[in-house]
């Protein structure tokens, strides 16, 4: 499977974890979306550094875009493949789901 395909699966899997498996339902809370909004802004900056400088390079066959690395366009946003947004969404959501779930289990998160 290409990076594009895996990204879609991962983002959906994270959503399933949140809504049904762990029932943390963070994606129904303004708090989580606010945090994600902040994180995604900095993701675009830091990922732009990694991809714009070609620290990380992508196989054109694995992504929507090509071998070109424009600032915007050709399947890229601030140099990074748009697929990275799905990767980030899945990683950030999964992290928060596990964190909140563990907190509720142990009673750390009393609110």
């Amino acid at each position: 499977m290409t990076y594009t395909g895996i990204t879609v699966v991962a983002a959906l899997a994270a959503l399933v974890l949140d809504r049904w498996a762990f029932r943390t339902r963070l994606t129904t809370s303004g708090t989580w979306w606010t945090a994600y909004g902040i994180i995604v802004f900095f993701q675009l900056l830091t990922n732009g550094w990694l991809t714009g400088r070609r620290i990380v390079r992508y196989d054109p066959d694995a992504i929507i875009g090509s071998a070109r690395v424009p600032l915007v366009g050709d399947g890229r946003l601030l140099y990074a493949p748009v697929e990275d947004l799905g990767f980030g969404f899945a990683l950030v959501l999964t992290t928060c789901v596990v964190w909140v779930w563990l907190g509720r289990r142990s009673g750390e998160e009393t609110t």
């Binding site: 290409t2 990076y3 895996i6 991962a10 029932r23 943390t24 339902r25 963070l26 129904t28 809370s29 303004g30 708090t31 989580w32 606010t34 945090a35 902040i38 994180i39 900095f42 830091t46 550094w49 990694l50 400088r53 070609r54 620290i55 990380v56 390079r57 992508y58 196989d59 694995a62 992504i63 990767f87 899945a90 990683l91 950030v92 999964t94 992290t95 928060c96 789901v97 596990v98 964190w99 909140v100 563990l102 907190g103 509720r104 142990s106 009673g107 750390e108 998160e109 009393t110 609110t111």
Partner: protein, 131 residues
């Protein structure tokens, strides 16, 4: 395993600034979020077990994905802009990424939760009481 023996004058650490490019990005992430701990009196670092479990449980599948993608050639890393150390073919920075990003994610989430008021933040709309 971490294999050493890379070019570089001092203990295998490259002196070229370029090699620090990925490390710099990780340092930037930490520099921006660690101050949230004192600023919002976050208790995240005081729960090392919960934090470690979160990093391991959430990070592992993504490290596995990264290993697969790197070996399948979906992406690759510039040796000139990473440190010489490799773990299963990944730069050490890339492994650190899956520790740093979950950590900064939790710190950001907790800081937002505090600012939005502890009693309504991060809760499911459906009430699940009894604790």
């Amino acid at each position: 395993m971490v294999d050493e023996g890379a070019p570089g004058p001092i203990g295998g650490i490259p002196m070229s600034l370029q090699h620090w490019a990925y490390v710099a990005m990780l340092a930037f992430c930490l520099a921006g979020t660690l101050p949230l701990v004192p600023a919002f009196r976050l208790r995240v670092l005081r729960q090392p077990r919960r934090l470690m479990l979160t990093v391991v449980a959430a990070g592992s599948p993504f490290v596995a994905w990264d290993l697969y993608a790197t070996h399948a050639g979906h992406w690759s890393f510039d040796p000139a802009q990473t440190m010489p150390w490799r773990v299963a073919g990944l730069p050490l920075e890339e492994i650190a990424f899956f520790v740093v990003i979950p950590l900064v994610t939790v710190l950001t989430y907790e800081a937002v939760r505090v600012t939005r008021g502890r009693d309504r933040a991060g809760r499911p709309r459906q009430r699940s009481e009894s604790r």
